[in-house]
Assembly symmetry: D2
Homo-oligomer: 390 residues x 4
């Protein structure tokens, strides 16, 4: 029985466009899926580079007018892989056109946008997926399994940190990531959204937030002609502009279930490249994770005799582990992009089965409420309550 | 030239009394000191166990009346190794008697006590040392050296955590550590004071604090007859009392120099025994430390070519490293108690040289101000300014 | 300018067939290649599963008669991904037909076969590549760069080990891997060939070998009907057969350049899944690697001040690192299968450029001489000289 | 009841004299012992430095004539902490005088000496202890406990290595360690004896050995006036002498119980300071140890579900762990010198109880047979059988 064809339109062809293209083209090779994604149209702004991209990745068509594509009847899935500022308009248009939505994070520029997106998705009844892809790291999914089966018992602590270091050089130019009107916020949105999503996935809803934010370098050279290059020294040294997002944020939170937690999101953690870290401590056990060693989960079983306890490094590559039976034998590790393939596989199953997938765009609203509360707390110095799930 | 004899009176003969006794008796063996500590009098309350203790450790005399001993003319040094609630009275009496003071941490039950102690010490002009012994872990002292010589450049982040797990069992009894009138506070005082002391040592003064605290287990069995035993299930199950200190605390702070920082102090981090952790990220480098691997310092030099950067595990056992020339050849690691020996050695030098030693009791006031601000912030939910150095 | 099409015939459609298929289909997406691999024909024995495989991976045709395909004029590249026992005949046929050869390891059942293969390849003048894919782990290629640029200086020690644990269960059946006529040898061939290839790549030619081998479980149940399943307990418990290969091997060697080295290859290292480990110690530095953490290279620079030395964990994901600019931003790790993509990319460049690629089949002969010497030494107990490069 | 006094005579006052002195003076403080070691006489050659040493460490008397002291009626215990070349004569004299013997390793210059020492000890019926102190690292003793209680099951592999790096600099002078007549051998004796002792303790007797040895730097400057300094560049550059011991050795062995093993002993492992490493792999579990992190034991329990297996880092500081109840609370780590204190405590118990202690001098003969076989194998290239226990 041939699988149902699902025509995908991809909006955005940079870093995320590449990662998504690979996922759409490889998911059905490694996973048995009820639907067969077809790389139908790639949408970008610069025609020559768009065509090169489409040829390389096998997109059948290209277009520069996303509004037209999003409403095209033959398109089943709209994949939003553009900069944050465009997400809201695109997602609402896609929802209103009845398309299934695969959306990159962070969800939106602000909470108001996020709520409008969720309303549109809910009204349209379409499947939406917000790509906090780290839920689908096998080690993270295995941590979830351990928690859900009671192996940690009552949870006391979440310790989350997402540490990067790519803009420490003061000559790094003022790219869109550093401007509030294009990015919404700095690492709080970009990195903190991942951490909060993971905390909500593994621990539960966050009840209150206190936060500090800091911009270490307040002015930077404007980007040069090639505004897209993420290169230090690449800017126009003479012309400078103001950084309007935070460089780093720290949050101290309470969870609805009585746990407490900390979050740290920064682009100034010298030497840390993509260290999405978390630890969860519970009455019966604990887990620890580091995205830079994503094939491993540290697990401590506190029900063992005390003389035998210790954090054990579980190499999460056994066939019994989540997603792993699709890949290679035990000990043969996977990488970053595999999480996108997992997301596509799960999304296709959800779309074909009419079942929900998480995190959805409405889930993203709950995350955004926490981040918005952090912004408020940083500004006012007071503890801010969050509203829980959307 | 025989070294000057320094007669020591030790107040307190439990865990800290043992650690201090070993330090007083070993410091002059490993280090060349200008003074020779004499283990003169050990002061305790229970005569039989006190005598056994004194015999074992070589204290010449014993006494049960500390007030008398503290004023005895032949005593040069008063070593306060009692529970927190006794520190204030003892330190003031010792200062007023003109004795040099070696005092265990946490400094006092509250900020008011701490300030009175500092005033007494300052008025008397005696040398005081507050035993935040982890400044004298060679790896920590080496981190200080790297920072002081500019190897980290401008500092952006402090990430501190002191994680233990010894009271997770709800049958663990209500010892004095869990009662505010005896302990002042929970891990905020006990563990957080160490972390804040290290942050002040390595990064600088803290300007503001936001904090969350939590008591996970609000009632516990009263201790049994042997109230001293730290054993789960050892209490009187029928009689229960209220825990009046926090079980865990999280702080988000700003430093006076523009850095930001996080602190976590908890007795509920399952599987962590004595994990006094910190990371410091600066413009030119970063360091990371874990007390459970106290012979190692992780150091990243961000001035190297990016392809060669990485956190390197420096085994801090070279003769060039702080304190190490007194011990063993490279690669022969030292342990927890060595930090006490280092403290005694430095204290003896300070006493004999008339030079100050840090942290002093006045330094402890500055630390206490931060912790007190954390308590306030946790209660009110607002950011609280600290006053900087005492 | 459209790239030249290169028609590939794949022989073998199991584990390696899957890994190779993914590499052939993804290499030109991530790398700019002078040739465009076309997945032309997949060759297998079982028609139904072969067809399913070809559909999934995009092979245009299928065939069950490899001899016919290997000589087909439109085939440019023959990819040998079958069990070891078939390599010799296939490679010779492919060479004689003038095809470029991409061959899985271990090279052959024995040294005599290997030499015949090399002779055929040399006579035909075709490009051959032997897939010791771990040379193309970026961290390994970076280690090679460090060594080649003198960062380790004179090399003293190679410490290699390839540790697995998949046949410890005595109910694991007597698959072909455990029978000399099908596999040639046990881990010495399967794992040791990788280690020796890496040692020759990084250190140089091996001059002499002393070895111990051991078969821990000498008899096993015959495989059941589904002989292909690698499952413990899956065999026919009643019928048992003799294991005719070693379960583990240890080698102590001398290198032609004066270094000495150790190798350990085993399927009985409980808990190690795919631990291909090596350490290289030189006068000026050292490196250490573990395939289970393949994105990391441990590097020690012994020219730094001794107080600052330490093994640093270089996350080999910078754009400056080998192969990485084709993938993701720093800190976004890659996995096992990426090494196959790298191999295909380099192979395509070699084929199109007429340049050699290493390791070639003749390189494999040199490796096989070392392994053959190990077998002899294990049998006789004496040191056996190797002949160096083929 | 006062403990029996045991008068100790210490022969040798350098590195080991210091470590032993500390152990003799601290053991009865931390452990409840049936005998009370008295630091009676320290014996050395240089009177001024000897007196300084004795004063510092509390030895009651000094002497330069060891023969006289060894036979003195009031001496109970003779502690041999001199260079290797003196061990044989001293141990035999002590045994003949009926003294209990605490002897540093390596045992002797060669197997013949070792056998004479064992014969003397056996004839005299005295208690002898050979100070392979690493058996008394708590983590190692805990590994022994796991093995003895069947947690590893049948053992397949021993992987041992003792890696140092202190003589890589070619200007390091020709100290006695590098001369066969003074040291017997190089790292094979010095480091390999520790590894073989541990392997015999944890796995069992060694049946056969194959070995490679290598001297990387064959000539070195003669030591300067201060021959004792272990400093590069400290020698007399003009005068040079021949290194007559190996710089490194690799052994491949079989055990009597069917396991196989590897050993590597070297002073040329750049960056490794005191890395005494071992791994033991068994049917039901595995352990791994590194002396540079001596408070930790890596333990894998292969009887757990495969998805939950992993090497766990057990921090061996619980009161239930060997020796730890004498020290500090969980998580408060110990160091190198504590192993000497453990050895003294166990030795005093053995002496007072009339029970044996291991390793004894006769145990050392068995170890020496293995090392002697390695020397032979390295010279001849052939496998050499060992005789098992003395």
């Amino acid at each position: 029985m041939p699988a149902k064809h699902l025509n995908v339109a991809l909006l955005g062809t940079k870093f995320m466009g590449k990662a998504h293209s690979h996922a759409w083209s490889s998911a059905a090779k490694f996973f048995d899926l009820p639907g067969d994604p077809v790389l139908k149209v790639a949408v970008g702004r610069d025609k020559p580079s768009l065509d090169e991209f489409a040829t390389r990745w096998g997109w059948e068509e290209t277009a520069t007018d996303w509004q037209h594509i999003v409403t095209r009847p033959d398109i089943d899935i709209v994949d939003i892989a553009t900069p944050t500022a465009l997400h809201c308009e695109m997602a609402i248009a896609a929802a209103e056109a009845g398309k299934q939505i695969f959306c990159e994070k962070p969800l939106a520029l602000d909470l108001a946008q996020a709520e409008r997106m969720a309303a549109a998705v809910n009204a349209a009844g379409v499947t939406s997926y917000l790509n906090h892809n780290y839920r689908r790291v096998p080690a993270v999914a295995f941590a979830k399994h351990l928690i859900d089966t009671g192996r940690l018992g009552r949870i006391f602590h979440w310790r989350g940190a997402y540490l990067q270091s790519w803009i420490i050089d003061p000559t790094f130019p003022l790219t869109w990531h550093l401007q509030a009107e294009h990015a919404g916020a700095g690492p709080l949105w970009d990195l903190g959204s991942h951490s909060v999503d993971l905390a909500r996935y593994l621990v539960g809803e966050i009840a209150s937030v206190q936060a500090v934010t800091k911009t270490f370098i307040e002015e930077r050279p404007l980007p040069g002609a090639d505004a897209g290059t993420f290169k230090s020294g690449g800017g126009n040294a003479a012309a400078r502009g103001k950084v309007t997002v935070e460089d780093a944020a720290i949050m101290a939170v309470t969870f609805a279930n009585g746990a407490i937690g900390s979050f740290e999101s920064t682009r100034f953690a010298t030497g840390r490249k993509n260290a999405n870290l978390f630890e969860v401590y519970g009455e019966k056990g604990a887990v620890a994770f580091d995205l830079e060693r994503l094939n491993e989960l540290e697990f401590l079983d506190a029900t063992l005799p005390s003389s035998e306890q210790g954090f054990r490094t579980v190499l999460v590559t056994e066939a019994e582990h989540p997603y792993l039976s699709a890949w290679w034998p035990p000990g043969h590790v996977i990488g970053y992009e595999h999480t996108f393939t997992h997301a596509v596989a799960d999304f296709v199953k959800a779309v074909c089965g009419g079942s929900p997938i998480h995190p959805s765009i409405p889930d993203g609203v709950a995350t955004m409420r926490v981040l918005d509360a952090a912004k408020q707390s940083a500004a006012t110095g007071t503890r801010v309550a969050c509203c829980g799930p959307a």
